[in-house]
C-alpha cells in the first residue's frame, strides 16, 4: 500500500446553517467510509486562510499565500491506496466536489526503494 496526500482546494461555504450542516454530514459520512475501508491513514488538519510567505536569502516575510480563494488549500488528509489511480478514485467521493472545490492527490515519496 502507498500513501497519498489529499489537498483540499477551494469549495463554497454553506449558504445557510442547514446547508452547512448537510455539507458537514456528507464529509463525516465520507470520512467514515474511508475509515471503514481501511484507507484513512490520518484525517489531517484544516488550515487557516491567513498566512505568511518567507522568501529569499534575506528571509523577507510577506503576507501570503495570495492564492485565489478557489485555489487556496483549506486542509489535508493522508490516505493509503494501491495506486495513484486508486487514490484518485477514492477522492471522487469527496463532498468538496459538490461545492465547486477540488482535491489534489499527491503520492507521498517512499523511504525504502
Amino acid at each position: 500500500m502507498n500513501e497519498f496526500l489529499y489537498l483540499y482546494r477551494g469549495g463554497q461555504r454553506g449558504e445557510s446553517p442547514d446547508q452547512s450542516q448537510q455539507i458537514m454530514q456528507k464529509w463525516l459520512a465520507w470520512m467514515k467510509d474511508l475509515t471503514a475501508s481501511g484507507n484513512l491513514k490520518d484525517p489531517g488538519q484544516p488550515l487557516e486562510t491567513e498566512g505568511k510567505v518567507v522568501k529569499g536569502k534575506g528571509a523577507t516575510v510577506t503576507d501570503g499565500p495570495f492564492a485565489e480563494a478557489k485555489d487556496l488549500v483549506g486542509g489535508f488528509t493522508i490516505v493509503v491506496a494501491d495506486s495513484l489511480a486508486h487514490a484518485a478514485k477514492l477522492a471522487g467521493g469527496c463532498p468538496i466536489l459538490d461545492v465547486d472545490g477540488c482535491v489534489e492527490v499527491r503520492p507521498v515519496m517512499k523511504m525504502d526503494m
Binding site: 461555504r13 449558504e15 445557510s16 446553517p17 442547514d18 452547512s20 464529509w27 463525516l28 484525517p43
Partner: protein, 415 residues
C-alpha cells in the same frame, strides 16, 4: 457522535439573538456575519476532526471569540448598544461583557426579544414572517424561498430591505414592558400562525420544508408560552391548534406520496402523542374569558381528531364553531371551510348555497381548493360534467405536483 437535526439552524437563531443584543440592533448585519463565520469554522474543523464533545458549546465559544475579535477591532469605529459601549472601554470588562451576553438564560429572552422585534409594525405580515424564519429560526434565504414558493433572489432582496427597516428602527423590542408586550403579542402570534399555515396548507412541493415550518412554529410558540407575559390563553390556544393540526400531517400523504383528503385519511397514522399534547394545551387555554380565533380553530381541530372515522365526525359542532369563527375572524377561506362543513351536515345543495353566499369570493379566484370544493359537491349531486369543469379549473391552478396528481384523480372520478 451524531448531530441532532437542524442543530446549526437552532444555534444560529440563538447566536444571532445574543449577538444582536450585545452589538445593538443597528449592527444586525455584523451579528449575522459573526454567526456565519462560526459555522464556516465549524464546517472546516469538524469535517476533518469530527464532531466535538459538545457541539453547541463549541459553536457558542467560536462565536464568542469572533465577537471579541470584532469588538477589539471595531470598538472605536462602530457604535454599539449603550450597555456594551460602556463595558468595552477596558479589555477586562470587554471579555466579561461578551461572556455575559452568551448566558443561557439570557439567550432565551434574547430570542423572544428578536421575535417581537421582527414583528415591527412598519413591516408587512409576510416580511415579518420571513424575518422571524431567518433571524430567529436560522433559515437561509433559499429555504425561506422554498417555503414561500419564491425565488431565492427575490427573498434575499425582500429580507435585506426588511432588515434595513429593522436596523433603522434603532432599538430592540423591550419585552419587559408589559403594556408594549400586550400590544405587539397579537402580531407575533399571527406571524407564528402564518408560519404554521404555510407549512400545513402551503404551496411548497417540498414535504420536508413544510414539516420544518410546522415544527419551527410549534417550537417558537412554545417559547412564547413559556414567558410569563406570553402565556396568555390565546397563545396556549395557538399552541393547541398547532399540535392538533400537525398530528394529522403524517396521514396527509398516502403510501404512494399522494395527497389524501380528510375524507379518506388513514386515521391510525395520526400522531396520538401530538393529539394528547394539543388537548392538554387546549385545556390550559380555557382559563379566563378571552375567546380568540385560535381557541375556535383548535376546537374545530379537536372535533376532527375526536372522530375515530370520518362518518362519525360531529358536523353540527363544527358548523357551529365555524359560525363563531366567522364572527371573530371572518375571511373567505373560513367561509369556504364552513360551507364544506354545512355540506356534510345538510347535504351538497346547502353546501353550494353556502359557497354562493361567501363574501369576497373573488379573493378565492386563485385558490385551487375553492373550485375543488364546488366540484366535490357537484359530483355528489351527480352533476358530473359540471364537477369535471370545476376540477379542471382547480387543476390548472394547482401549485405543485402533489396537488396536480390529487386534482387529476378528481377529474378522472367525474368520468
Amino acid at each position: 457522535m451524531e448531530l441532532s437535526d437542524h442543530l446549526f439552524r437552532r444555534e444560529a437563531g440563538r447566536m444571532v439573538a445574543a449577538l444582536t443584543r450585545a452589538f445593538g440592533l443597528h449592527n444586525l448585519a455584523l451579528a449575522e456575519d459573526v454567526v456565519q463565520d462560526a459555522f464556516c469554522r465549524a464546517l472546516e474543523v469538524w469535517k476533518l476532526r469530527g464532531i466535538p464533545e459538545n457541539p453547541s458549546a463549541w459553536l457558542m465559544k467560536t462565536a464568542k471569540n469572533r465577537a471579541v475579535g470584532v469588538l477589539r477591532r471595531e470598538r472605536t469605529a462602530l457604535t454599539f448598544a449603550p450597555d456594551l459601549g460602556r463595558l468595552l472601554q477596558t479589555e477586562w470588562t470587554l471579555a466579561n461583557a461578551v461572556e455575559e451576553m452568551f448566558d443561557p438564560i439570557g439567550i432565551k429572552d434574547d430570542q423572544l426579544r428578536m421575535m417581537f422585534s421582527c414583528c415591527h409594525p412598519r413591516l408587512s405580515a409576510p416580511a415579518q414572517v420571513m424575518l422571524v424564519l431567518q433571524l430567529v429560526g436560522g433559515f437561509g434565504a433559499r429555504e425561506v424561498a422554498s417555503a414561500f414558493v419564491s425565488s431565492p433572489a427575490a427573498v434575499e432582496k425582500r429580507l435585506s430591505r426588511s432588515k434595513k427597516t429593522l436596523a433603522e428602527s434603532g432599538v430592540l423590542f423591550d419585552i419587559a414592558d408589559a403594556a408594549d408586550f400586550a400590544l405587539r403579542l397579537p402580531v407575533v402570534q399571527r406571524a407564528l400562525y402564518l408560519i404554521f399555515s404555510e407549512g400545513y396548507h402551503g404551496a411548497s412541493a417540498h414535504a420536508v420544508i413544510r414539516t420544518d415550518l410546522c415544527c419551527e412554529s410549534i417550537r417558537l410558540t412554545r417559547q412564547l408560552a413559556e414567558h410569563p407575559l406570553g402565556a396568555v390563553p390565546s397563545t396556549l390556544a395557538l399552541c393547541a391548534l398547532m399540535y392538533l393540526d400537525a398530528a394529522r400531517l403524517p396521514a396527509r400523504l398516502d403510501a404512494s406520496g399522494d395527497l389524501s383528503s380528510l375524507f379518506d385519511q388513514d386515521r391510525s397514522r395520526w400522531d396520538r402523542e401530538m393529539i394528547d399534547e394539543g388537548r392538554a394545551w387546549l385545556e390550559r387555554s380555557a382559563s379566563g374569558t378571552e375567546l380568540s380565533r385560535y381557541h375556535v380553530e383548535a376546537a374545530i381541530a379537536a372535533v376532527h381528531t375526536d372522530a375515530p372515522r370520518f362518518e362519525e365526525t360531529d358536523w353540527a359542532a363544527i358548523v357551529s364553531l365555524y359560525d363563531t369563527l366567522m364572527e371573530i375572524a371572518p375571511s373567505p377561506v373560513v367561509a369556504l371551510s364552513r360551507a364544506i362543513a354545512v355540506a356534510q351536515l345538510r347535504g351538497p345543495q346547502s353546501g353550494l348555497e353556502a359557497i354562493d353566499a361567501v363574501n369576497d369570493r373573488d379573493r378565492l379566484a386563485e385558490y385551487p381548493f375553492y373550485y375543488a370544493a364546488r366540484g366535490e359537491l357537484e359530483l355528489r349531486r351527480k352533476n358530473n360534467a359540471i364537477a369535471r369543469d370545476y376540477f379542471q379549473t382547480a387543476l390548472a391552478l394547482a401549485r405543485n405536483p402533489v396537488e396536480q396528481r390529487f386534482l387529476k384523480k378528481r377529474v378522472d372520478a367525474c368520468a
